[in-house]
């Protein structure tokens, strides 16, 4: 019997030999390939089986009698040796993993298989009573693994259902036992009688009917549960009617979940032995002699040369180093996205016992052109309690009373003061001996402490747009003054406050028309009581881009979710937009398209009528756009040309945003979508809201040095978009139900002593003060 070894984390395999050059790693499983699972007399297998099979009528039982691992260096027996029958697709496989403690962990590098793997649990079985003539029987009678011993007699009857080919059993108070043909008992832990019931046929109250399925002609099939406690091999039939079948489940053997051990470097010997026995099906046949079997194998153990197989992920560097990651990632392989300093460098391992091999590690960031940063850190269990074990293994452990220990990790709390390229090194400094490096990889430290700073653009007006004839720059327009709430009437009169500014706090609500119930929570609702008249005033807006405002399909088709081809789509978007990026005559249209900018900026990519096809958010460094989520609102402005002077009395546009990252991920085109349709942007005041998600599903979870109150970074940028045209107004079609226009409201409003308020007892001025407090920058 050739024995092997399997590293359950990396999937690396060895054939066990007594050669030091072929030393295995301390946390491997020794694999013994059996032809079929065997019973365990050593009490080391955590998921033992009965090891029985019926072969040609003979009940064959193989039993593992000894399993011993000896440390040849210290000449002692290794304590705490465990073993487990490995799980595979469709159930257990006859491979015994010595030093393993759950059936699924060996599938860690094969999560696709782990998803379909299962351990063998005895399925529910239905035992029927066969076809044939009706008959009585007084002696015990076997049906498969079931034996019915009637009190006086049992009767097998043709059922009153033409489609049912098998007989029913009636044997009240008979002994129902379960056994192999050899007579060896089978313990069952679940048992039902599938009984045939006629209309109004009683079932005694002490019997529990779990399920009843109507059949035909007034018959039904009822499942009567028989309590068998923790398991039994015989019960008395408590039912006097017709039994169609007996449903039972063979009880699995007791499973334990001990902690697994790892070996120390050294020289070992594995010894195992057992015996196979066969029992004849009937007394007239002889039992064959027992057949013993055994195996002995020596082997060597050494530490792995690198921690790389144990690293699950890192937040510092290119995570693709630790396993294939598909999809969007435009960074240079081996370097990854620049790391923001507000997040801790973390290296997570995929096992909980690295600290057993190395109690502490030295982490060092070696800059190319700045002083290094080094820190001694303990290897600790991750505080989130996460484990890389396949889900099936975790479920199995939990179901069998075990726990899933969190994987180990190391993280660096020392700040990283410098930006730029560097190496990240993991090494160990033993108590005696020289430091030895365990792993290292290249990293890039960002100049920005966090994503919000990285993406922030403090300017309030877009000044550059690109067109077919090259870049165009213009002077920034002044921001539109926000009216003072104290001067409501005047500002309303001059149209500087819209009705919905009073009615709605959240601009998102302006997508659909505000409902009257919204008013109760609005400022206007508290100012004006009761709001029972909806007055026409504010024009209805398009739900989707009208006329020629939708993006051409050649561009719209590029603005799809992020993928590996994002850089190509970015370039094609610019190419198909026919814009020229360089003002230099004779330069290629997309000259300098890959060049990073000095500081974060937002520009516009426009059509021939200066309408932005997309906004181009450009930053000096790549950022992981998979973590970035953006949307924008656009507030319409007055005057169709030049700098905006005031807000139009129109609903704010709520726009979704698709990101189309640039070649290196340092920038992205922001393609707006209205009603799900990619659209050109009109003139207006844009508020771009950006969220950066450290815990984006599917990506490595970044750990902020200081916890983020909302769990993610947020950024809101408001700026004027003065290019192109004003968004068209939808022709009026009876604007019933829209929010009242303020001047008309003002006419209805009685100025004078405050009236009683319906919601709260705040006076108008108090509300205004509250509003002002919320908007301290209000003009």
């Amino acid at each position: 019997m050739d024995l092997g070894a399997l590293h359950p984390i990396s999937g690396r395999q060895w054939k066990l030999t007594d050669e030091q050059a072929n030393a295995i790693w301390p946390d491997v499983c020794l694999v013994v390939p059996f032809g079929a699972q065997v019973a365990d007399a050593t009490n080391t297998i955590v998921n033992p089986v009965n090891g029985e099979s019926v072969q040609g009528g003979w009940t064959v039982t193989s039993t593992l009698l000894t399993l011993q691992l000896t440390d040849l260096v210290q000449d002692i027996k290794v304590a705490g040796v465990t073993a487990v029958w490995a799980a595979g697709p469709g159930g257990d496989i006859p491979a015994l993993h010595i030093l393993g403690n759950d059936p699924f962990s060996w599938l860690t590098p094969h999560l696709d298989v782990a998803g379909s793997a299962s351990t063998t649990t005895y399925p529910l079985r239905d035992q029927w009573f066969g076809a044939g003539p009706a008959q009585l029987f007084a002696k015990p009678r076997r049906f498969g693994g079931l034996v019915v011993a009637p009190v006086e007699f049992g009767v097998l009857l043709a059922p009153p259902l033409g489609w049912l080919a098998t007989r029913v059993l009636r044997a009240p108070n008979a002994k129902l036992s379960f056994s192999y043909p050899s007579g060896k008992a089978i313990k069952v832990d679940q048992l039902w009688l599938g009984v045939l019931r006629g209309i109004e046929e009683p079932i005694e109250q002490n019997l529990q009917v779990d399920e009843e399925v109507p059949l035909v002609d007034g018959w039904s099939l009822a499942l009567i549960r028989i309590d068998v406690g923790k398991g039994t091999d015989a019960v008395e039939i408590p039912y006097g009617g017709s039994i169609l079948f007996v449903r039972y489940r063979q009880r699995p053997l007791t499973v334990t979940t001990p902690e697994r051990i790892t070996l120390q470097p050294g020289h070992y010997e594995l010894t195992l032995s057992g015996v196979t026995q066969a029992k004849a099906p009937a007394p007239e046949f002889d039992d064959p002699p027992d057949k013993p079997w055994s195996a002995t194998q020596r082997f060597w153990v050494e530490h792995p040369p690198s921690l790389r197989p144990y690293v699950r992920f890192t937040t510092l560097g290119d995570d693709r180093l630790f396993g294939p990651k598909r999809g969007f990632d435009p960074t240079l392989p081996g370097v990854g996205f620049p790391a923001h300093g507000d997040y801790l460098p973390v290296v997570r391992f995929c096992v909980p016992y690295v600290k057993g091999m190395f109690k502490n590690l030295r982490l060092r960031v070696d800059y190319l052109d700045a002083p290094n940063v080094s820190q001694e850190v303990d290897v600790l269990a991750n505080v989130a309690g996460e484990s890389a074990l396949p889900e099936a293994a975790q479920i199995w452990k939990a179901a069998h009373g075990g726990t899933v220990p969190p994987d180990d990790e190391v993280f660096m709390t020392s700040p990283l003061p410098s930006a730029g390229p560097a190496s990240f090194r993991l090494s160990h400094v033993p108590a005696a001996g020289a430091e030895f490096e365990l792993d290292s990889w290249g990293v890039q430290i960002s100049r920005f402490p966090n994503a919000a700073t990285h993406l922030a653009w403090p300017v309030t007006c877009i000044t550059r747009f690109y067109r077919y004839d090259g870049p165009h720059d213009q002077t920034a327009c002044p921001t539109i003054g926000s009216p003072k709430w104290k001067e409501v009437a005047r500002n309303i009169f001059w149209g500087r406050i819209r009705a919905h500014d009073l009615h709605v706090h959240e601009p998102e609500r302006l997508g659909p028309q505000p409902k009257q119930t919204d008013f109760a929570e609005s400022i206007a609702g508290q100012l004006l009581m009761p709001i029972d008249v909806i007055i026409t005033g504010m024009p209805e807006e398009y739900a989707t881009p009208p006329d020629d405002w939708p993006l051409p399909s050649a561009l719209a088709s590029l603005a799809e979710p992020l993928g590996a081809d994002a850089a190509q789509r970015f370039l094609l978007f610019l190419w198909r937009s026919k814009v020229r990026l360089s003002a230099q005559a004779g330069a290629p249209e997309l000259a300098d398209v890959g060049d990073p900018v000095e500081s974060t900026t937002i520009e516009a990519v426009c059509d021939g009528e200066n309408r932005p096809l997309a906004l181009w958010l450009r930053t000096p460094e790549p950022i992981d756009w998979r973590r970035v989520h953006a949307d924008m609102t656009l507030r319409h402005v007055n005057s169709d040309t030049g700098c905006p002077t005031s807000y139009a009395n129109r609903h704010t546009m709520a726009l979704a945003v698709r990101l189309l990252p640039s070649i290196d991920g340092s920038g992205a085109l922001l393609v707006a979508r209205l009603g799900g349709v990619p659209t050109r942007l009109p003139r207006g005041e844009i508020t771009l809201k950006v969220a950066y998600e450290p815990a984006e599903p599917g990506l490595v979870k970044l750990r902020p040095r200081t916890p983020l109150p909302s769990g993610h970074e947020t950024l809101s940028m408001t700026f004027l978009q003065p290019f192109g045209q004003t968004w068209p107004i939808k022709p009026a079609e009876g604007a019933v139900g829209v929010v009242p226009h303020i001047p008309q409201l003002v006419q209805k409003r009685k100025f004078g002593p405050p009236e009683p308020l319906p919601y709260g007892k705040q006076a108008v001025h108090e509300l205004v003060e509250k509003l002002l407090a919320e908007e301290p920058t209000g003009q």
């Binding site: 009767v155 043709a158 039912y239 079948f245 190509q568």
Partner: protein, 730 residues
């Protein structure tokens, strides 16, 4: 005490106990009796030495009686029945009635009017003789039910409640009030030794038996008498007593010769080894019973015979020709088999004579033979024979007619013929094995596996079968559906599936279904119900718990997945089969799957193993020339380039680069691909890519950039290269 049965012998236990007056020779009332299974206590043999035949006069009103003219209870006057009034039964299904307790022992007949309570108006009634079910009968509400058997001690009714109105039972073994007189003493002990002439008087008619056969019968008789009761027969066969039973069951005449039958009539002459007297000379209402002269065995049941001519055996309807099949036998010849099954109302019909016409191809032959077979579930009066032939044609038709035969050597009239039944072909021949396939876009060539000498079997050859070649055009569909309800049966499972109705539920017929650990073949789909065949033998089936999910998959050989592309005669099939099969131009690697099957006599055999032809698109041409423009350098110092081809190409393209000025010949070994991978050029001419080119500082650099075309199967053209200068930084 064991008792004699005035009943038939042989394997058929439910024999009539006697006939009425038979006018044919030997004239009179014919009787026969049988022996018990075991010897009387203290005896070393089963049969007694002498049997006494007793007769008593009985006034039997032929017009009234109990209305029963067949079976053990035939002609028994009503006043001899035991009446129990109305008996109500209730409880759990089935309700039971112990006749042993009710009537004091087993009875031979039960009579009642069935009254249903709630639920169905019909019920299944089963009558038992100790362990054996002797009668199974569906009964209707209000029906007068008569159940008869040599012994009935228990009734079960498959309902939770019912009433048996006017329940009566008849025990023909009960002590009789009739006044019996011995009319004959049969010397059984002499049978084994006397000459044929000595026993001839027992059968007062022209015998079919003759001296040689009598000697053989005596040998069987003597072997039985010498055998201990309960002995095991050699090689699992019948013991000597059973062998004798078979011989005696063949003809009533044999039983009479041996002293196990008797005729009470005027033909009888002077006995030699027996004694008899006062035999009837004309029909008369009488009752018979037999006794062991040594009284080791209990008296037999009482048989009632009316004073009238025995009615003729009722003509049987045309028999059924069942299980007909034409198969290929293990000898390689065509093998046909069929069953002929008959049924009739008279439980006294123990067999039939069969006249059978067999048409094989164009040849017709007729044969007459006897049929005595009986299946386990055949009721008295029904039976079957199994027939097999080796034939030269696959076209076989059978028709037959039968006439009944009772246990007293009487034959009825011939019944009608069945219509000729053409036996169905049950043959699933494997097609020739194919080793390889090619398709060049217009023609497919299939090559047989070595030794490529396949010939059709006899059945396919006789039917001038053909080989059909099909090509797969679709993949099997799959469906995942929740199980709303599962009705298990032993051999099949009926499941009600949830979810959206698939476009073609019937597509899953013949496919597989998996529900947890249960897997089976879908035999019928009538959405949302599916019937699943679950073969399991004697062992258990996998249970289907509520809320399970069913995974259905269409059979990979479902006909809808294939299209026929060729067919040719099976005889003379060449080692290489060539046929036209035009396919569109391949744009990617494509596997064509071909399978063969045999078509013969309107049958289609199973699809054979698949053989696949690989089709690859043509190697693309070298891309057109192009020029390179550098667009800039990104954060990671990768150079963004734009390539513009001089003319559009629809091919997929990939950009590679190598450091320095590299020849085309060396380019593929020194170049690395760009980041953009394989894609089409924008408007056929523009390619963008990101290349990790060296970024010159003070000294200009030279790189070679190449483009190659790639087809859908990753087939690649040669490179077209351009040497590109990277200027030094200004």
């Amino acid at each position: 005490m064991n008792r004699l049965s005035l009943a038939a012998t042989g394997w058929v236990a439910q024999q009539p106990t006697g006939t009425g007056w038979v006018a044919d020779h030997p004239i009179g009332n014919r009787l026969r009796w049988s022996w018990p299974e075991d010897a009387a206590e203290g005896e070393h043999r089963i049969l007694p030495e002498r049997i006494l035949v007793e007769r008593a006069p009985v006034d039997i009103d032929v017009d009234v009686g109990a209305g029963i003219v067949l079976g053990p209870a035939a002609w028994v006057p009503l006043n001899l029945w035991q009446h129990h009034g109305d008996v109500g039964l209730s409880g759990l299904t089935p309700v039971e009635l112990s006749l042993s307790q009710l009537a004091g022992g087993p009875v031979q007949a039960v009579r009642f009017i069935y009254e249903a309570w709630f639920g169905s108006t019909q019920a299944l009634v089963q009558a038992f003789d100790v362990e054996r079910c002797v009668v199974t009968r569906w009964v209707q509400d209000g029906e007068l039910v008569v159940l008869q058997a040599p012994a009935i001690d228990r009734l079960t009714v498959m309902r939770p409640a019912c009433v048996l109105r006017q329940l009566s039972t008849l025990d023909l073994y009960a002590p009789s009030k009739l006044s019996f007189d011995v009319i004959a003493e049969i010397n059984l002990a002499a049978t084994g030794a006397v000459a044929f002439s000595a026993v001839e008087p027992r059968y007062p008619a022209k015998p079919t038996l003759y001296l040689t056969r009598w000697t053989e019968l005596q040998d069987a008789w003597n072997a039985a008498w010498a055998e201990a009761p309960g002995a095991v027969g050699p090689n699992g066969g019948p013991n000597a007593w059973h062998a004798l039973q078979i011989a005696l069951a063949a003809r009533w005449e044999h039983a009479v010769f041996c002293g196990l039958g008797f005729v009470d009539g005027p033909d009888n002459s002077a006995p030699v080894v027996d004694t008899w007297h006062d035999l009837l000379t004309a029909p008369q209402g009488v009752a018979y019973r037999i006794r062991d002269s040594g009284e080791k065995l209990a008296p037999s049941n009482v048989v009632y015979v009316p004073g009238a001519q025995a009615s003729d055996l009722v003509m049987l309807p045309a028999p059924a020709i069942e299980q007909g099949a034409v198969r290929l036998g293990s000898s390689g010849k065509i093998h046909v088999s069929w069953d002929i099954a008959w049924t009739g109302p008279n439980p006294g019909t123990i067999g039939v004579e069969i006249e059978e016409t067999l048409t094989i191809g164009s040849n017709t032959s007729t044969e007459t033979y006897g049929g005595r077979g009986r299946r386990e579930l055949d009721p008295p009066g029904a039976g079957f024979v199994h027939r097999e032939e080796e034939v030269a044609s696959h076209l076989v038709a059978v028709s037959a007619r039968v006439r009944p035969q009772d246990g007293f050597d009487r034959l009825g009239l011939w019944g009608p013929w069945t219509s000729p039944i053409v036996l169905a072909i049950d043959h699933h021949p494997q097609p020739p094995l194919l080793r390889s396939a090619t398709n060049n876009g217009t023609t497919t060539i299939l090559t047989q596996s070595p030794p490529a000498d396949w010939v059709p079997d006899a059945l396919v050859a006789a039917a001038n079968g053909t080989v059909r070649i099909s090509r797969r055009i679709a993949e099997p569909t799959r469906l995942s559906a929740s199980v709303i309800r599962a009705i298990p049966s032993s051999d099949f499972l009926l499941v009600k599936l949830g979810g959206v109705t698939p476009s073609d539920p019937a597509a899953y017929v013949g496919g597989q279904i998996r529900i947890g650990t249960l897997s089976g073949t879908v035999t019928l789909v009538s959405w949302p119900w599916a019937t699943v065949d679950v073969p399991h033998g004697d062992g258990p089936t996998a249970a289907v718990p509520a809320g399970a999910t069913a995974e259905l998959s269409q059979s990979p050989t479902h006909p809808a997945l294939f299209v026929q592309v060729h067919q040719q005669p099976a005889k003379g099939l060449p080692a290489v089969v060539t046929f036209p099969d035009a396919m569109p131009v391949a744009t990617s690697a494509q596997l064509l799957e071909y399978r063969a099957q045999l078509v013969f006599a309107g049958q289609v055999g199973p699809l054979g193993p698949a053989v696949q032809a690989l089709r690859l698109p043509a190697t693309p041409k070298v891309p057109p020339p192009f020029k390179v423009t550098t667009l800039g350098v990104d954060f990671y110092h990768r150079t963004v380039v734009q390539l513009e081809l001089t003319k559009p190409t629809p091919d997929l393209l990939e950009v590679w680069w190598a450091d320095g000025n590299v020849s085309v010949a060396d380019f593929s070994s020194r170049a690395v691909p760009g980041d953009a991978g394989v894609r089409h050029a924008e408007i056929g001419t523009i390619l963008f890519d990101t290349l990790s080119l060296p970024v010159p500082k003070k000294v200009p650099r030279t790189v070679t950039i190449g483009v190659q075309a790639v087809n859908g199967a990753d087939g690649r053209s040669a490179f077209l290269t351009v040497v590109h200068a990277l200027p030094a930084a200004p």
